[in-house]
Symmetry: C2
Subunit: 150 residues, 2 copies
DNA sequence: CTCCCATAGTTGACGTGTCCATCATAGCGA
DNA sequence: TCGCTATGATGGACACGTCAACTATGGGAG
Protein backbone atom coordinates (compact mmCIF):
# COMPACT_ATOMS: atom_id res chain seq x y z
CA UNK A 1 0.00 0.00 0.00
CA UNK A 2 1.99 2.96 -1.26
CA UNK A 3 1.84 6.05 0.92
CA UNK A 4 1.21 4.12 4.09
CA UNK A 5 4.32 1.98 3.83
CA UNK A 6 6.57 2.16 6.82
CA UNK A 7 4.01 3.82 9.02
CA UNK A 8 3.52 2.38 12.52
CA UNK A 9 1.25 -0.61 12.94
CA UNK A 10 -1.80 -0.50 15.12
CA UNK A 11 0.08 -2.16 17.97
CA UNK A 12 3.05 0.13 17.68
CA UNK A 13 0.76 3.12 17.75
CA UNK A 14 -1.05 1.80 20.80
CA UNK A 15 2.29 1.35 22.55
CA UNK A 16 3.28 4.89 21.58
CA UNK A 17 0.09 6.39 22.93
CA UNK A 18 0.19 4.44 26.17
CA UNK A 19 3.84 5.33 26.64
CA UNK A 20 3.66 9.03 25.90
CA UNK A 21 0.40 9.67 27.71
CA UNK A 22 1.48 7.80 30.80
CA UNK A 23 4.86 9.46 31.03
CA UNK A 24 3.14 12.82 30.71
CA UNK A 25 0.74 11.92 33.49
CA UNK A 26 3.60 10.68 35.63
CA UNK A 27 5.51 13.89 35.14
CA UNK A 28 2.55 16.02 36.08
CA UNK A 29 1.75 13.95 39.17
CA UNK A 30 5.29 14.06 40.48
CA UNK A 31 5.45 17.77 39.74
CA UNK A 32 2.10 18.32 41.39
CA UNK A 33 3.16 16.54 44.55
CA UNK A 34 6.43 18.46 44.66
CA UNK A 35 4.56 21.70 44.33
CA UNK A 36 1.87 20.83 46.86
CA UNK A 37 4.29 19.54 49.47
CA UNK A 38 7.14 22.01 49.09
CA UNK A 39 6.02 25.00 47.02
CA UNK A 40 8.75 24.32 44.46
CA UNK A 41 8.21 23.50 40.80
CA UNK A 42 10.26 20.85 38.99
CA UNK A 43 12.11 23.69 37.29
CA UNK A 44 12.94 25.28 40.63
CA UNK A 45 14.19 21.92 41.84
CA UNK A 46 16.51 21.41 38.85
CA UNK A 47 18.04 24.83 39.27
CA UNK A 48 18.49 24.45 42.99
CA UNK A 49 19.90 20.95 42.70
CA UNK A 50 22.65 22.27 40.47
CA UNK A 51 23.31 25.22 42.78
CA UNK A 52 23.38 22.97 45.82
CA UNK A 53 26.31 21.10 44.31
CA UNK A 54 28.12 24.19 43.08
CA UNK A 55 27.02 27.20 45.08
CA UNK A 56 27.95 29.89 42.62
CA UNK A 57 27.61 29.54 38.88
CA UNK A 58 27.57 31.64 35.76
CA UNK A 59 24.13 31.71 34.23
CA UNK A 60 25.28 30.10 30.99
CA UNK A 61 27.12 27.34 32.80
CA UNK A 62 24.06 26.67 34.87
CA UNK A 63 21.90 26.51 31.75
CA UNK A 64 24.31 24.08 30.11
CA UNK A 65 24.51 21.99 33.27
CA UNK A 66 20.79 21.40 33.45
CA UNK A 67 20.25 21.34 29.70
CA UNK A 68 18.12 24.46 29.37
CA UNK A 69 18.19 27.27 26.87
CA UNK A 70 19.63 30.46 28.28
CA UNK A 71 16.41 32.30 27.68
CA UNK A 72 14.39 29.77 29.58
CA UNK A 73 16.76 29.97 32.50
CA UNK A 74 16.71 33.76 32.46
CA UNK A 75 12.93 33.83 32.68
CA UNK A 76 12.94 31.19 35.39
CA UNK A 77 15.62 32.92 37.44
CA UNK A 78 13.59 36.10 37.27
CA UNK A 79 10.65 34.33 38.83
CA UNK A 80 12.83 32.62 41.43
CA UNK A 81 14.50 35.90 42.30
CA UNK A 82 11.11 37.53 42.88
CA UNK A 83 10.34 34.75 45.31
CA UNK A 84 13.63 35.21 47.13
CA UNK A 85 15.03 31.79 46.25
CA UNK A 86 18.13 32.88 44.34
CA UNK A 87 20.14 36.04 43.79
CA UNK A 88 22.11 37.34 40.85
CA UNK A 89 25.11 39.60 40.97
CA UNK A 90 27.66 40.91 38.52
CA UNK A 91 30.58 38.73 37.60
CA UNK A 92 33.98 40.09 38.61
CA UNK A 93 35.92 38.71 35.64
CA UNK A 94 33.41 39.27 32.84
CA UNK A 95 31.24 42.35 32.89
CA UNK A 96 28.67 40.66 30.67
CA UNK A 97 28.14 37.81 33.06
CA UNK A 98 26.18 37.22 36.20
CA UNK A 99 26.71 34.85 39.07
CA UNK A 100 23.74 32.95 40.39
CA UNK A 101 23.54 31.67 43.93
CA UNK A 102 21.00 30.27 46.33
CA UNK A 103 19.78 32.60 49.04
CA UNK A 104 19.66 31.14 52.56
CA UNK A 105 15.93 30.89 52.14
CA UNK A 106 16.42 29.11 48.84
CA UNK A 107 18.81 26.60 50.34
CA UNK A 108 16.40 25.94 53.15
CA UNK A 109 13.52 25.41 50.75
CA UNK A 110 15.61 23.04 48.64
CA UNK A 111 16.72 20.99 51.61
CA UNK A 112 13.17 20.72 52.85
CA UNK A 113 12.07 19.55 49.42
CA UNK A 114 14.59 16.78 48.83
CA UNK A 115 13.05 14.00 50.88
CA UNK A 116 9.44 14.61 49.80
CA UNK A 117 10.56 14.68 46.19
CA UNK A 118 12.53 11.46 46.44
CA UNK A 119 9.64 9.86 48.24
CA UNK A 120 7.26 10.79 45.42
CA UNK A 121 9.66 9.29 42.89
CA UNK A 122 9.83 6.11 44.89
CA UNK A 123 6.10 5.81 45.33
CA UNK A 124 5.04 6.64 41.78
CA UNK A 125 7.94 5.27 39.77
CA UNK A 126 10.19 2.88 41.66
CA UNK A 127 7.43 1.09 43.53
CA UNK A 128 5.26 0.83 40.42
CA UNK A 129 7.82 -1.26 38.55
CA UNK A 130 9.71 -4.48 39.06
CA UNK A 131 13.52 -4.23 39.19
CA UNK A 132 13.57 -5.70 35.69
CA UNK A 133 11.19 -3.05 34.47
CA UNK A 134 13.31 -0.29 35.98
CA UNK A 135 16.28 -1.69 34.10
CA UNK A 136 14.23 -1.92 30.93
CA UNK A 137 13.08 1.68 31.39
CA UNK A 138 16.69 2.82 31.62
CA UNK A 139 17.60 0.86 28.50
CA UNK A 140 14.65 2.22 26.59
CA UNK A 141 15.65 5.73 27.61
CA UNK A 142 19.17 5.06 26.36
CA UNK A 143 17.96 3.72 23.03
CA UNK A 144 15.60 6.63 22.51
CA UNK A 145 18.26 9.14 23.40
CA UNK A 146 20.70 7.58 20.96
CA UNK A 147 18.13 7.94 18.21
CA UNK A 148 17.30 11.50 19.20
CA UNK A 149 20.93 12.51 19.01
CA UNK A 150 21.23 11.25 15.43
CA UNK B 1 19.43 5.19 58.64
CA UNK B 2 16.11 6.60 59.80
CA UNK B 3 14.68 9.36 57.65
CA UNK B 4 16.29 8.16 54.49
CA UNK B 5 14.84 4.67 54.62
CA UNK B 6 12.90 3.66 51.59
CA UNK B 7 14.25 6.44 49.43
CA UNK B 8 15.42 5.48 45.93
CA UNK B 9 18.89 4.07 45.49
CA UNK B 10 21.46 5.76 43.32
CA UNK B 11 20.69 3.39 40.45
CA UNK B 12 16.95 3.85 40.75
CA UNK B 13 17.40 7.57 40.73
CA UNK B 14 19.62 7.41 37.67
CA UNK B 15 16.98 5.32 35.90
CA UNK B 16 14.32 7.84 36.88
CA UNK B 17 16.31 10.77 35.58
CA UNK B 18 17.20 9.08 32.31
CA UNK B 19 13.61 7.99 31.84
CA UNK B 20 11.89 11.25 32.62
CA UNK B 21 14.36 13.48 30.81
CA UNK B 22 14.38 11.34 27.71
CA UNK B 23 10.61 11.06 27.48
CA UNK B 24 10.41 14.83 27.84
CA UNK B 25 12.92 15.30 25.05
CA UNK B 26 11.09 12.79 22.89
CA UNK B 27 7.82 14.59 23.42
CA UNK B 28 9.28 17.93 22.49
CA UNK B 29 11.00 16.56 19.38
CA UNK B 30 7.89 14.87 18.08
CA UNK B 31 5.88 17.98 18.85
CA UNK B 32 8.47 20.17 17.19
CA UNK B 33 8.44 18.12 14.03
CA UNK B 34 4.67 18.12 13.95
CA UNK B 35 4.62 21.86 14.30
CA UNK B 36 7.37 22.49 11.75
CA UNK B 37 5.92 20.18 9.13
CA UNK B 38 2.23 20.85 9.55
CA UNK B 39 1.67 23.98 11.63
CA UNK B 40 -0.30 22.01 14.20
CA UNK B 41 0.59 21.55 17.85
CA UNK B 42 0.18 18.23 19.65
CA UNK B 43 -2.84 19.73 21.38
CA UNK B 44 -4.39 20.68 18.05
CA UNK B 45 -3.76 17.17 16.83
CA UNK B 46 -5.47 15.53 19.81
CA UNK B 47 -8.53 17.70 19.42
CA UNK B 48 -8.75 17.15 15.69
CA UNK B 49 -8.19 13.42 15.95
CA UNK B 50 -11.22 13.15 18.22
CA UNK B 51 -13.29 15.37 15.93
CA UNK B 52 -12.23 13.43 12.87
CA UNK B 53 -13.80 10.32 14.37
CA UNK B 54 -16.93 12.04 15.62
CA UNK B 55 -17.50 15.22 13.64
CA UNK B 56 -19.64 17.05 16.13
CA UNK B 57 -19.16 16.89 19.87
CA UNK B 58 -20.17 18.70 22.99
CA UNK B 59 -17.24 20.51 24.51
CA UNK B 60 -17.40 18.51 27.75
CA UNK B 61 -17.60 15.21 25.91
CA UNK B 62 -14.62 16.20 23.84
CA UNK B 63 -12.67 17.14 26.94
CA UNK B 64 -13.50 13.81 28.58
CA UNK B 65 -12.63 11.93 25.40
CA UNK B 66 -9.12 13.32 25.20
CA UNK B 67 -8.62 13.53 28.96
CA UNK B 68 -8.37 17.28 29.30
CA UNK B 69 -9.87 19.64 31.84
CA UNK B 70 -12.75 21.65 30.45
CA UNK B 71 -10.93 24.89 31.09
CA UNK B 72 -7.89 23.78 29.17
CA UNK B 73 -10.02 22.75 26.25
CA UNK B 74 -11.92 26.01 26.29
CA UNK B 75 -8.70 28.01 26.06
CA UNK B 76 -7.37 25.76 23.35
CA UNK B 77 -10.56 25.88 21.32
CA UNK B 78 -10.46 29.66 21.51
CA UNK B 79 -7.01 29.65 19.92
CA UNK B 80 -8.03 27.07 17.32
CA UNK B 81 -11.13 29.05 16.48
CA UNK B 82 -9.05 32.18 15.90
CA UNK B 83 -6.98 30.18 13.44
CA UNK B 84 -10.07 28.92 11.64
CA UNK B 85 -9.52 25.25 12.51
CA UNK B 86 -12.73 24.61 14.44
CA UNK B 87 -16.06 26.31 15.01
CA UNK B 88 -18.40 26.39 17.97
CA UNK B 89 -22.14 26.82 17.88
CA UNK B 90 -24.98 26.65 20.35
CA UNK B 91 -26.36 23.28 21.25
CA UNK B 92 -30.00 22.75 20.28
CA UNK B 93 -30.94 20.54 23.22
CA UNK B 94 -29.03 22.28 26.03
CA UNK B 95 -28.74 26.02 26.00
CA UNK B 96 -25.66 25.89 28.19
CA UNK B 97 -23.78 23.70 25.79
CA UNK B 98 -21.81 24.23 22.62
CA UNK B 99 -21.10 21.94 19.73
CA UNK B 100 -17.57 21.80 18.40
CA UNK B 101 -16.78 20.84 14.83
CA UNK B 102 -13.89 20.93 12.42
CA UNK B 103 -14.05 23.56 9.72
CA UNK B 104 -13.23 22.39 6.18
CA UNK B 105 -9.88 24.07 6.59
CA UNK B 106 -9.39 22.25 9.88
CA UNK B 107 -10.19 18.90 8.36
CA UNK B 108 -7.80 19.57 5.54
CA UNK B 109 -5.02 20.55 7.93
CA UNK B 110 -5.60 17.45 10.02
CA UNK B 111 -5.54 15.13 7.04
CA UNK B 112 -2.35 16.71 5.78
CA UNK B 113 -0.79 16.23 9.21
CA UNK B 114 -1.55 12.56 9.75
CA UNK B 115 1.17 10.97 7.69
CA UNK B 116 3.97 13.31 8.76
CA UNK B 117 3.01 12.78 12.37
CA UNK B 118 2.95 9.00 12.08
CA UNK B 119 6.23 9.11 10.27
CA UNK B 120 7.82 11.09 13.10
CA UNK B 121 6.54 8.55 15.62
CA UNK B 122 8.00 5.75 13.57
CA UNK B 123 11.37 7.41 13.13
CA UNK B 124 11.87 8.63 16.70
CA UNK B 125 10.08 5.95 18.69
CA UNK B 126 9.36 2.75 16.78
CA UNK B 127 12.64 2.64 14.88
CA UNK B 128 14.64 3.49 17.99
CA UNK B 129 13.51 0.38 19.84
CA UNK B 130 13.52 -3.35 19.30
CA UNK B 131 10.12 -5.07 19.17
CA UNK B 132 10.82 -6.41 22.66
CA UNK B 133 11.53 -2.91 23.91
CA UNK B 134 8.30 -1.61 22.43
CA UNK B 135 6.46 -4.34 24.26
CA UNK B 136 8.34 -3.51 27.46
CA UNK B 137 7.50 0.17 27.02
CA UNK B 138 3.81 -0.68 26.80
CA UNK B 139 4.03 -2.85 29.89
CA UNK B 140 5.88 -0.20 31.83
CA UNK B 141 3.23 2.32 30.84
CA UNK B 142 0.55 -0.05 32.06
CA UNK B 143 2.28 -0.63 35.38
CA UNK B 144 2.84 3.08 35.94
CA UNK B 145 -0.74 3.90 35.08
CA UNK B 146 -2.04 1.29 37.49
CA UNK B 147 0.01 2.88 40.25
CA UNK B 148 -1.09 6.39 39.29
CA UNK B 149 -4.73 5.41 39.50
CA UNK B 150 -4.36 4.11 43.05
C1' DC C 1 43.98 50.82 18.09
C1' DT C 2 39.83 49.82 15.41
C1' DC C 3 36.53 46.99 13.50
C1' DC C 4 34.01 42.99 13.49
C1' DC C 5 32.07 39.10 15.22
C1' DA C 6 31.13 35.91 18.98
C1' DT C 7 29.28 35.48 23.48
C1' DA C 8 26.42 36.58 27.98
C1' DG C 9 22.33 37.72 29.23
C1' DT C 10 17.70 39.92 29.01
C1' DT C 11 13.33 40.96 27.03
C1' DG C 12 8.79 40.83 24.48
C1' DA C 13 5.40 38.23 22.19
C1' DC C 14 2.88 34.41 22.17
C1' DG C 15 1.26 29.50 22.82
C1' DT C 16 0.34 26.40 26.49
C1' DG C 17 -1.51 24.58 31.17
C1' DT C 18 -3.55 25.06 35.91
C1' DC C 19 -6.33 27.01 39.39
C1' DC C 20 -10.15 29.33 40.68
C1' DA C 21 -14.05 32.43 40.00
C1' DT C 22 -18.02 33.44 37.44
C1' DC C 23 -22.39 32.98 34.97
C1' DA C 24 -26.22 30.91 32.94
C1' DT C 25 -29.03 27.08 32.41
C1' DA C 26 -30.78 22.40 33.77
C1' DG C 27 -33.13 19.69 36.66
C1' DC C 28 -34.96 18.20 40.86
C1' DG C 29 -37.42 18.31 45.27
C1' DA C 30 -40.72 20.81 48.29
C1' DT D 1 -43.94 27.13 40.73
C1' DC D 2 -40.00 28.33 43.55
C1' DG D 3 -35.63 27.71 44.92
C1' DC D 4 -31.46 24.98 45.47
C1' DT D 5 -27.72 22.58 43.64
C1' DA D 6 -25.22 20.54 39.82
C1' DT D 7 -23.40 21.16 35.36
C1' DG D 8 -21.59 23.42 30.83
C1' DA D 9 -18.70 26.63 29.48
C1' DT D 10 -15.82 30.71 29.75
C1' DG D 11 -12.40 34.01 31.56
C1' DG D 12 -8.60 36.07 34.23
C1' DA D 13 -4.32 35.51 36.60
C1' DC D 14 -0.30 33.43 36.61
C1' DA D 15 3.59 29.89 35.73
C1' DC D 16 6.12 27.85 32.13
C1' DG D 17 8.63 27.35 27.29
C1' DT D 18 10.18 28.82 22.77
C1' DC D 19 11.59 31.98 19.39
C1' DA D 20 13.59 35.94 17.81
C1' DA D 21 15.26 40.49 18.70
C1' DC D 22 18.16 43.27 21.29
C1' DT D 23 22.06 45.25 24.42
C1' DA D 24 26.49 45.15 25.92
C1' DT D 25 30.91 43.31 26.52
C1' DG D 26 34.99 40.37 25.07
C1' DG D 27 38.59 39.40 22.09
C1' DG D 28 41.01 38.59 17.97
C1' DA D 29 42.52 40.08 12.93
C1' DG D 30 44.32 43.73 10.47
Amino acid sequence: MPGTRRLPTRDQLAAWRAFIETTELLRSRIGGRLHDETGLSPGDYSVMLALSEQPEMRSSDLAAHIGWERSRLSHHLGRMERRGLISREDCATDNRGSQVRLTPRGREAFEAATVPHLRAIRELFVDALTPEQIGAAAEIAGALRTRLKA
